[in-house]
């Protein structure tokens, strides 16, 4: 897999955090994705599940079926073995967004804080193709990046206790979409009717790690 520096940190007696880099970057995140694919194919006995993060892969296992030490060795073997480092073709998904007004209650504040017009905020947000780094927080919630420098913004100082389903938020250099109503601290600039998570679908999460997302402003209701 090219760069094969792996860091291991035990998270209890039944999970192992495998670190593939220190930073948020597409390269590190691709290595996480590659390692997960290889381990899925390797079908190591006793391995129960994988939770990929930005720069790490959490491997959950049954310690009575495979010892943490043996698992570490097997993961290293799988990571360094020669072979394809290819990844499946990423999906590109266009997400329609209603920006501002009741749909994006923080758009005005964001525009004021950044010293650019709301139209520029929308332009910056829609002109980038984002990578889905991981799904987490709530089922189907995509952590996406990297937001243009001009939109880098702190989280809300007081998180909302309830952010509506479909809200599109930004925080620091990331953007995300709330698949269900939940508490949340990101700046909400818009809303999408897209259904991100459906437990009855074959693939319950619309987006997966590695997918590409582009936002599209719904012109007719621009405010």
């Amino acid at each position: 897999m090219g760069d094969d520096r792996l860091g291991f940190r035990a998270m209890g007696d039944r999970s192992l955090l495998v670190e593939l880099g220190e930073t948020i970057s597409p390269e590190v995140n691709c290595r996480v994705q590659q390692l997960m694919l290889r381990l899925q194919q390797a079908r190591l006995p006793g391995v129960r599940e994988f939770a990929p993060g930005y720069r790490s892969l959490l491997v959950v296992f049954d310690p009575l079926a495979i010892s943490p030490a043996v698992l570490k060795t097997r993961i290293t073997e799988v990571a360094v073995q020669p072979g394809s480092s290819g990844l499946p073709q990423a999906k590109l998904i266009t997400v329609p967004v209603f920006y501002g007004g009741n749909y994006g209650p923080d758009l005005e504040w964001v525009s004021g804080h950044l010293g650019i017009s709301t139209a520029e905020v929308i332009r910056f947000h829609t002109e980038t193709v984002y990578r889905v780094y991981m799904i987490g927080f709530t089922p189907g919630y995509p952590y996406m990046g990297e937001l243009p420098e001009a939109l880098a913004i702190p989280r809300r100082s007081t998180p909302r206790t309830r952010v509506p389903k479909g809200s599109v938020g930004i925080a620091q250099r990331q953007t995300g979409i709330y698949p269900v109503a939940s508490p949340g601290g990101w700046q909400i600039i818009g809303w999408t009717p897209i259904e991100l998570f459906d437990p009855d679908r074959q693939l319950p999460s619309l987006l997966e790690m590695g997918d590409q997302v582009k936002f599209d402003a719904v012109r007719q209701v621009e405010i």
């Binding site: 035990a10 999970s15 959490l58 943490p68 709530t138 089922p139």
Partner: protein, 319 residues
């Protein structure tokens, strides 16, 4: 198997849900395991009524559930002692009972622990969603219509062939857990113990923490002395996967033991509760005292092996 109407909920109490042992394999979609928080109690309860250990049960938190039987059915109540009664009589826990049509089971409130389980012969009949019958409260799916139980809900059970035969089974007192504060939980260090100062680590394993009332199924929030980070180490980290039992320490230095409703997180974890002690987490109650003991990985795995061998013996005996 077909579901047969078995219980009607007369009062749901504080919070009652349908759970099995959890939903695994979906963390990459951001889906947390959910599941019964005292898995040991559920496994024993299911064995007592002749079920698969992972059959769905009703989890009762604190108090107040009242259900009436719609047919003759065999049940076992395990977990924390919420003072269950059948009609007027005290219902002996950790034992299977025949409940007659029309009889009512009630839970008055805790004399020990926090969560009780009703295992029903055949198992609670709800659809399996993403491989589990547990309730995912964050997204509203799984369990009983993806939500907590309400007055008037009718719970079905898969009809067990020879139910009545199963009544009257019990287990030895030695295998009934003791749920009592102060709790001493065994942990293994990490994954980010090196991000904490020597004083912070010492504080973590010597302090007595108090369980905060804002604890819930997502986590047990502790109050106590500040568990300090290394100088210059920031409050949050880049988000990563998490398992229940991981103990995260946010900026205020007050530890939170993660339970089954979280799939990822962005705080440092100083230590993680060992698998053998995870079931006890479900019984820790606001106001209780918690302290931590660091053990080696070998000790942790050995403790799990002992718990599983105890369950093996039960399984063989109750067959």
């Amino acid at each position: 198997m077909a579901g047969v109407n078995t219980f009607e909920v007369l009062s749901p109490g504080i919070m009652s849900t349908v759970q099995d042992l959890g939903r695994f394999g979906c963390a990459r979609y951001g889906v947390a395991p959910s599941g019964a928080l005292d898995g040991y109690a559920v496994r024993v309860g299911n064995l007592l009524v002749g079920n698969d250990e992972n059959a769905a049960v009703v989890e009762i938190t604190l108090m107040g559930l009242r259900v009436t039987a719609l047919r003759d059915v065999v049940v076992a109540v395990t977990g924390g002692d919420l003072q269950p009664r059948k009609g007027g009589e005290r219902l002996t826990m950790w034992r299977s009972h025949l409940v007659r049509e029309g009889e009512t089971i009630t839970f008055a409130g805790p004399s020990s622990g926090l969560r009780s389980y009703i295992a029903v012969a055949g198992g609670i009949h709800v659809p399996s969603v993403m491989g589990s019958r547990s309730t995912n409260l964050a997204s509203g799916f799984g369990g009983f219509e993806g939500r907590v139980l309400r007055k008037g809900d009718v719970l079905a059970a898969d009809s067990a062939a020879d139910g009545v035969r199963l009544a009257g089974k019990s287990i030895e007192p030695e295998v009934v857990p003791v749920y009592a504060s102060p709790w001493r939980l065994r942990v293994v260090w990490g994954p980010q113990d090196d991000h904490f100062s020597e004083e912070g680590r010492q504080c973590f394993v010597t302090a007595a923490f108090t369980v905060s009332p804002d604890s819930d199924r997502t986590g047990i929030r502790l109050k106590g002395p500040t568990v300090a980070r290394q100088p210059g180490v920031e409050e949050s980290i880049i988000s990563e996967g998490i398992v229940s039992g991981a103990i995260q320490v946010p900026g205020d230095g007050q530890p939170i033991i993660i339970l089954g409703e979280t799939a990822s997180g962005g705080y440092r974890k100083i230590a993680t509760v060992i698998s053998a002690d995870l079931p006890r987490l479900g019984q820790i109650t606001p106001g209780d005292t918690v302290s931590f003991e660091a053990v080696s990985m070998d000790t942790a795995v050995q403790a799990l092996r002992e718990m599983e061998s105890k369950l093996d013996q039960l399984r063989r005996r109750l067959k």
